[in-house]
Symmetry: C2
Subunit: 309 residues, 2 copies
């Protein structure tokens, strides 16, 4: 039950109210891989890196069942680099530097060995790249999940709309959902966006949790209330990795199971924010994950029988 | 199993992006009574109004099992009046007018017939008034719930701290919890505030739901995602009325039952915001409430068994 994950593998420099790191591994596909590989193997990675991406990181990913045949290494260029600074509320951040480097040339070729994958996670990338990946799949995956961002809505909306017609699940944050739909109400926004193609829509609200929409149904998963959110970088991608990882493991793409997948994604994201970059994701065990999911159960479970007279 | 509700009965003028009303019934105790009377009778009201408060409103409340012996009518003054305007996101509002009128003299006397009440809801009022009510109770109620606001933290903190030592449950919004505790993290804020007296703390986050803290436990209830929030006025008080109404009906003040009570409160608040003022609360039936609570169950329930291998 393989899963293809397409996205960036990169370096980040991050400043939060709690500290600063000048250079740490990042990238959407990195976070997806660290999260999803807890649930499904192989995770078939599609990305591009420069000559500066550490071999130890590649080895670490390999040891977790992440296949790297689809990761292009460009010998004379550097990896994608992003630098940002978070505000006190951790919900907003300023981008300080974006050095595309190798990402400017990213035109992924899906390895023959990846063909037949049943799950496809398209990280936030140029919609032209996302579409190219979909077109390369000889057999359409059972489930295609995509992430995107406001930037593509602004500069590549027609192409983005084309991709939206091809995917099953779209993941965006609340402000992106509003921008894409032109609706302020998230319930109305969801209807508009599902009319654009995706049968399922996940709206991420950061510390305020996530909503899953499908037809007239809606499900809500809270974020775990934490003493400190140390670094939110990668939380959305980690959420995505947990979500699609759970679906791939259970081979069940029903709405009911997507609810559970969102809880799994939220649990994984709650680890991600505890330390800089993917540091915490490398430490956690299956037992840690199970315990964290139980915390989510305790967080939202209540005795419904008491509400009836 | 009677419940005393202390608070304002007033007029509001409200402007939202959806419309405007120049004069509608409002006040914290009004909303608490309309919500709680669905679950428990009598609701023993303690408030103060002027010569302008409509008899039909009093009759309507009476017909719902709200006792008005504790509502003082001041013949030569007007009722409390508040006017506010909501911004597009409905999470923020500007107060345009606050005419205290009768509220300036509010020094409630608990009627003898109210003595022995097991539940006490202290609406947002001068902490000096809240403390006076507690002191007047010959037998301490089983559960005292209080609301307050940033205004009292700024001008009457020592008195507020005195009241906090006497109550079981404090309800505040997220910014008030941060202000009262001096902590940005709500988890840390909760620890500080519970150290000030209340064994239970409810932090209301508006459209982002509510958190219940007790010792090391936390429970989260979402707000129902609505197509439109028409008017948020009174939603917090309606939440409080549903919360304490459910507890009074079930006579169970355990943490487990408080979780359910928070869902009931959230369901009642979700009705409140659908129309101006308490309009919607006057229309709904037991069947409507049951159906709405079921929507909350659907909103958060997921199959935990799927998360284990």
């Amino acid at each position: 039950m393989s899963l293809i994950s397409v996205g960036t593998m990169a370096f980040d420099a991050i400043e939060t109210p709690f500290g600063k790191t000048d250079r740490i591994i990042g990238g959407s596909a990195t976070y997806v891989a660290y999260a999803a590989s807890n649930f499904v193997k192989p995770v078939q990675q599609v990305s591009i890196v420069g000559n500066d991406f550490p071999q130890e990181e590649m080895d670490e990913l390999s040891s977790r069942g992440v296949e790297l045949d689809g990761v292009e290494i460009v010998k004379d260029k550097k990896s994608f680099f992003w630098s940002g600074k978070y505000h006190l509320d951790m919900n907003t951040r300023d981008t300080l530097v974006t050095d595309l480097n190798v990402l400017a040339d990213f035109d992924p070729v899906i390895p023959v060995s990846y063909q037949g994958a049943e799950f496809l996670m398209l990280g936030n990338l140029d919609p032209k790249v996302q579409l190219s990946v979909i077109k390369q799949m000889k057999q359409r995956p059972r489930l295609i999940v995509m992430d995107t961002m406001n930037f593509w809505m602004e500069i590549a909306l027609p192409k983005l709309e084309e991709v939206l017609k091809e995917v099953d699940v779209l993941m965006v944050n609340d402000s992106e959902a509003r921008q894409l739909s032109g609706q302020f109400s998230l319930v109305k926004a969801a209807k508009v966006i599902m009319g654009m193609g995706p049968k399922y829509l996940i709206i991420k609200k950061g510390e305020h949790g996530a909503l899953l929409f499908h037809e007239n149904n809606v499900f809500f998963a809270p974020a775990l209330p934490l003493e400190d959110v140390f670094d939110p970088t990668g939380a959305g991608d980690t959420f995505a990795g947990g979500f699609i990882g759970h679906l791939a493991r259970t081979k069940d793409i029903s709405f009911e199971n997507m609810k559970t997948a969102i809880i799994v994604g939220s649990a994984m994201a709650s680890f991600c924010v505890e330390k800089f970059g993917p540091t915490r994701l490398k430490e956690i065990t299956k037992a840690d994950i199970d315990e964290r999911i139980q915390q989510f159960v305790n967080l939202v479970n209540f005795d419904f029988s008491l509400t009836s007279e």
